[in-house]
Symmetry: C2
Subunit: 313 residues, 2 copies
């Protein structure tokens, strides 16, 4: 297997656990890193001080590499990066913004920088900005998403033929079978969100985890496209937004109904009706709440089985 | 390689050329069937008499199996099926409607019936209706599409684990690499539209073919969701619809702006601004107008190469 991703991070398996709001604190990141993947602390739902606490705890919970995901559109990005540098974090995934602004700052501090994109155009900007690798995330992914709506199947091969950086596929992947398919399309590794959001070590509210494993196909939809497109599980809040959008609501009206703290309310506090529930389409294929380490092992076992299956075609 | 699809149709390669409006007449279907795939005449843009003419010509242009695609929402479905039975067509793909109504009629006439679905729920209905195989089509596909917006990556494995019928993947596939990925996800064969829409034997207007090979990622979007969701290339007509939708247009208003003959105007007559241009996201990966037979050969060559690549991981 091509080892560009495993070598870059110094990990055993090319499985990255996506940095997610309200789900991926130090417990989840350390569990994935201990199992041979790359765990990411999701800083998007943390104040700088809380992030620092999570980094410190993660360092004492694993001797393996781990990283921090930083959505660039959140406030306090500067303080977040200050904590990251101070704590000697070696790997940073940036998303939801331009890679131009922070990449050289991070690289000057010896940090490996990975940026998340949803289009070929953004991938080319990453090359210009000097990032070390990119995550290409398809339309089926949970949470924030691209305006182009390009799916994993269409996006990965196109980016692979357009740039030569180590490429990590995201969106729709939760199993070893999906990992083989993503790598057949041209990725060197995979980033997995939803499956880990429903893991034992995820800090998501138990009710939200339960909702994930009960999800059927068609239970999520990309919404709030006039603000920032986000894939949500259908619930009371989603239906309200959906009706407003259908009637032509402006971005101002949508920002108002969204208000503050919707994702915390849904994903962390377990208000399944009024909260924002960010999750991917692949939630329909997730049926158990498992320890994150067992998820990594199961994926790698299935990966090997499916690989052999293909050899025997 | 699992031979459930090739055996069912009596073909050499598990590559089905999608039946498409304004693109797939007898020339394209015969070319694909002659190359070892399964060509489909797209009846959606044909009056029953014209369809009959295409069937007759296709029979004299190939000795290999071919079929007809019938979108069930079009008028004159009854007359279409009458011609199909009279001309002794052996394979029918139905789409855009329920498989319950016509499947037993067709099977009573010794016809192999395949139905196109976009959700697990519809796949289960196909089993009930007694179809012989199903095509599962993802969100990235061109033309009419499902309300669930489930992508190929999320849809195929879920349907594969839910039903045991021969499964054909569609949406986002244009290359041998895509074919390997689709089959890794659990399909036994692939249905390819956009790539053949841009082939030499396609009856699409040369200007539309040129537009397809120039397309970049993000150049299509699923639209007209309040009527029947359809993936269109962005152009003047699309922008008009998109603005109306954004302002909350009703389905009645959208039906009015759509009018009659939009897809003919765009795809067959070459009016790239005012016409409807149905095409998939994978158009961004299509760079040449090739003979359909060469497309089949190229896909199979790449399929074998990528398969070996995976064996050596």
């Amino acid at each position: 297997m091509n080892d560009r991703v495993t070598k870059l991070f110094g990990i055993k398996y090319p499985i990255i656990q996506a940095g997610m709001v309200w789900c991926s604190g130090w417990r989840l990141a350390a569990a994935v890193s201990n199992a041979g993947g790359l765990g990411l602390i999701g800083s998007g739902s943390m104040h700088p001080e809380l992030l620092e606490e999570h980094i410190v705890k993660c360092k004492s919970a694993t001797n393996n590499p781990f990283g921090v995901n930083v959505p660039l559109l959140y406030p306090q990005v500067e303080e977040i990066f200050e904590k990251i540098v101070r704590q000697g974090v070696k790997i940073v995934f940036t998303s939801a913004g331009s890679p131009a602004k922070w990449t050289s700052f991070l690289k000057n501090h010896g940090i490996i920088v990975v940026h998340v994109v949803a289009s070929v155009k953004s991938a080319l900007k990453c090359v210009e900005a000097g990032v070390d690798a990119i995550v290409a995330e398809g339309f089926e992914a949970g949470g924030h998403n691209g305006k182009e709506e390009t799916t994993t199947f269409a996006l990965i091969p196109h980016i692979r033929q357009s740039i030569s950086l180590p490429l990590i596929a995201a969106g729709g992947i939760a199993t070893g079978r999906g990992m083989v398919a993503a790598m057949a399309l041209g990725a060197y590794g995979v980033q997995i969100g939803s499956r880990f959001a429903a893991s034992e070590e995820s800090s998501a509210h138990p009710k939200f985890k339960q909702k994930i494993i009960e999800a059927k196909d068609g239970d999520t939809l990309l919404t709030l496209k006039k603000i920032v497109p986000v894939r949500l599980m259908k619930n009371g809040f989603f239906e309200k937004v959906h009706q407003m959008e259908s009637a032509g609501a402006s971005s101002e009206e949508l920002i108002q109904i969204l208000g503050k703290g919707r994702s915390k309310k849904g994903m962390f506090e377990g208000d399944l009706e009024e909260g924002e529930l960010e999750i991917g389409q692949v939630s329909s294929m997730i049926n158990d709440i498992m320890p994150a380490g067992s998820i990594v092992e199961e994926i790698m076992r299935e990966f090997e089985t499916v690989k052999l299956e293909i050899c025997n075609w």
